[in-house]
């Protein structure tokens, strides 16, 4: 039996005149996500995207799992394509295709969607006939229109008739790439991958910036970030990861700045460097995984000092979340176990014993200016390393 994936657009149906453009991006993202699982024809009509396998070697299990991670879809179904757009064909298809689910269920109902108004049977008639046919095949079933174990959907559309069971929930959000581009600052902890995921969900195409301080940090710490970004890219699509050589800057920080301001000045420098990179790569915002009050550098005062370092808008999607809420998401997107691998990252090098929780911007700026980081920042920007991240690697 030939199968097809029917995908329902999410928020983009609200986009009015820009809808076509949004849908084109969504289709492109779907094609990219399906790469390596077979050949498909991806078309759209009536706020549904049709993903039709071409040939028999498509891995639909994998394809449907990947579709579940594409932003911009509210729900999706794996459906059988009826041989012909006739009532007979629908009746022949439904009990066979859904046999497994129906055998296990106790109650069911049929729901018909007849968007092709030329189809001779009206919706209630379709339901009645299909329901009757299913009961003939599975006499143990009862019809329950309020709370059925299985709902059998019959969709009569312009291109054909389809049969499927309850749709699966899509990833929601809006298509990656329709919300502009931004830089995510990523360390390798639990928070930044979650922040990246959350902003990608709002349509942002990501460029990742990572700060490496060898020999204080190891290659494994950088590899861990690559691994994390690969997991994020299953949702956010492929992206660039830019590694900033940060050793000289951190050593200068240790030598020339007051200890209690190490972290705050370091974070300001990270913002400044990231902003420069963002401009270079046409990104309009920065994203961080900061959550208010989580650590000394994430108090209102500290965030104020960090924020002042960059002119660009800074997105902090985790700002009001508890650690456990963040961890829950990291489990869901499968980054948690990688995040907790124990390697030193740039944020844990030279941490002060007593960081200032209420830094005064004026003093912070003075200390930073006195140390003269500009030449080192320029040098770091000259020596960026670029790694391309793809979900399939």
């Amino acid at each position: 039996m030939k199968e097809i994936l029917l995908l329902k657009d999410g928020e983009i149906v609200l986009k009015g005149l820009n809808r076509r453009a949004f849908e084109d991006v969504l289709k492109r993202n779907i094609r990219t996500a399906l790469r390596g699982t077979g050949e498909y024809e991806v078309t759209s009509a009536q706020s549904t995207i049709y993903v039709k396998p071409l040939g028999d070697d498509c891995d639909l299990d994998e394809a449907s799992e990947r579709i579940g991670r594409v932003f911009g879809l509210v729900s999706y179904s794996r459906a059988a394509m009826c041989e012909e757009k006739t009532m007979e064909s629908v009746l022949a298809t439904a009990p066979v295709y859904l046999a497994k689910q129906l055998k296990k269920a106790k109650t069911f109902k049929v729901e018909a969607k007849r968007s092709d108004k030329k189809f001779p049977c009206k919706s209630p008639e379709i339901c009645r006939e299909a329901g009757g046919e299913i009961l003939r095949h599975f006499p143990h079933l009862r019809v329950d229109v309020h709370n059925p174990d299985v709902t059998v959907y019959v969709e009569i559309r312009d291109f054909g008739a389809y049969v499927h069971a309850d749709p699966l929930r899509g990833a929601g959000g809006i298509p990656v790439g329709t919300g502009g581009k931004a830089v995510i600052l990523i360390s390798g902890g639990i928070d930044s991958p979650v922040a990246a995921y959350m902003m990608a969900k709002r349509g942002i195409k990501l460029t990742a910036v990572h700060f490496a301080s060898p020999p204080y940090t190891s290659q494994r710490a950088e590899d861990k970030v690559v691994k994390l970004l690969r997991k994020v890219s299953r949702y956010a699509g492929s992206m660039r990861m830019i590694t900033v050589p940060f050793t000289a800057i951190q050593e200068k920080l240790r030598d020339d700045c007051p200890e209690e301001l190490f972290t705050i000045i370091m974070r300001r420098l990270m913002m400044q460097i990231s902003e420069r990179i963002a401009k270079q790569y046409d990104c309009a915002a920065l994203i961080t995984g900061e959550s208010l009050g989580q650590v000394a550098s994430q108090t209102i005062g500290a965030l104020g000092c960090t924020d002042e370092a960059a002119d660009m808008v800074v997105f902090r999607p985790l700002i009001g979340m508890d650690k456990q809420e963040i961890i829950d998401i990291s489990y869901r997107i499968d980054t948690y176990e990688t995040s907790i691998e124990p390697y030193e990252d740039c944020c844990t090098v030279f941490t002060p014993k007593h960081p200032r929780t209420k830094p005064i911007l004026k003093f912070v700026k003075e200390a930073q200016e006195r140390a003269r980081f500009e030449p080192l920042v320029e040098e770091a920007l000259q020596n960026l390393k670029i790694t391309y991240i793809n979900p399939e690697d």
Binding site: D61, E62, K104, S218, Q219, R220, D223, D334, E337
Partner: protein
């Protein structure tokens, strides 16, 4: 030489051997060492993990390397039984499993667990309803092999696991896929397996390496304690040379082409061998073509085996791990003792040719004429 004992072990492919040598003489660092040299060795181990994962259609994080199939099977049985013993004290295995499952099950029985052994029907196949009938609320694990090592019988594990879960959705489903890996598609999602065992030396890689697929979220109590390797589930320095060679062997799989070729060999072997007076077929008709189990007259297996070895023809009487004990698999299929006592297992690989089969047919024919019958 006519090597027809590929279910016992296989020749290491030249490419896999080359990788092992390279790992031992050049990339010999400890994969856990912090330095760059260690990272290089680790990268080789991780590449192999990906290669195994690709064949099983799972994430590389779900692959745990072991010292072989036996360790993986033991870890699956003891690991799950231990982890779930507070609520569930029953496990269900088929009666034709490899000894590394059967003996582990017996040990659990000794330790107070209830073990149900499900026998195959006369067709040599374990039937889903028979397994499901043995499963209850107190069952922690079901273990049914993908392909039987003595007869090549292909077990319907996907259907078995599905019916098992209809009875109790919490049962952990394990399949020993040692004889199927590289020969038959073993995608864990299609099979519905939570745990799956493979071994390197059956697929043209060196001995001393295997892997257990552990579905994300399935909890096992480790069998050994030590360092941080493999997320502490199987501590101990990874056998990087064997693992890397295993990865290379996996990349060389060509399941479809090899199956077609071996199917031809198997058909040819059936035609030649069954034409000999006194030779009968023990393998099920639709068995995996890589294994052909026959009984040759009433000459004891071992006698025939030693007769053939003089002609440089090498095969087994049954499982090599059983070391000559009468086959529990053939008995379970309902064959009488005489038939099991004279059974021979011919097992092929892509490296075999028709000449090997001609030599075998001639050898058996001569054996049947000249050797004393029991």
């Amino acid at each position: 030489m006519h090597y027809l004992d590929n279910s016992a072990t296989t020749m290491v492919s030249p490419e896999a051997a080359k990788k092992a040598l390279e790992m031992m003489t050049e990339v010999f660092a400890n994969p856990s060492s912090l330095h760059a040299f260690g990272i290089r060795a680790e990268a080789e181990v991780e590449a192999a993990r990906k290669a195994v994962a690709a064949q099983l259609g799972c994430s590389d994080e779900e692959i745990l390397f072991t010292s072989g199939g036996t360790e993986a099977n033991n870890l699956a049985l003891f690991g799950v039984a231990e982890a779930r013993k507070r609520r569930c004290r029953k496990i269900v295995v088929s009666s034709v499993e490899h000894s590394s499952v059967i003996e582990a099950a017996k040990k659990l029985e000794n330790d107070g667990f209830t073990v149900v052994y499900v026998a195959p029907r006369a067709d040599g196949i374990i039937h889903p309803e028979d397994v499901a009938a043995a499963v209850g609320d107190d069952t922690s694990l079901v273990s049914v092999m993908r392909v039987n090592n003595e007869t090549g019988a292909v077990m319907p594990v996907a259907d078995i696991f599905e019916e098992v879960r209809d009875v109790n959705p919490d049962v952990i489903c394990h399949t020993d896929a040692v004889q199927a890996f590289g020969k038959l598609e073993c995608k864990v999602k299609k099979l519905g397996a939570d745990l799956l065992t493979v071994s390197a030396h059956k697929v043209h890689a060196p001995k001393g390496c295997g892997a257990l697929y552990i579905k994300k979220g399935v909890r096992l109590v480790p069998r050994q304690y030590g360092g941080e390797q493999q997320k502490k589930r199987r501590p101990g320095t990874e056998a990087a040379q064997t693992i890397a060679a295993f990865g290379v062997a996996c990349e060389q799989f060509d399941i479809r082409a090899n199956a077609a070729y071996v199917r031809q060999l198997n058909d040819y072997a059936k035609e030649k061998l069954l034409a000999i007076e006194g030779v009968v077929l023990n393998s099920p008709a639709d068995a995996l073509p890589y294994v052909l189990n026959i009984t040759a007259g009433r000459v004891r297996s071992e006698t025939m085996l030693h007769h053939l070895e003089k002609r440089e023809i090498y095969l087994s009487s049954g499982s090599a791990c059983a070391k000559g004990k009468p086959s529990h698999v053939l008995s379970a299929m309902g064959y009488d003792k005489d038939r099991a006592d004279s059974a021979l297992r011919v097992s092929f690989s892509k490296y075999n040719t028709k000449e090997d089969i001609d030599a075998l047919a001639e050898g058996i024919a001569i054996g049947l004429r000249t050797l004393a019958h029991a």
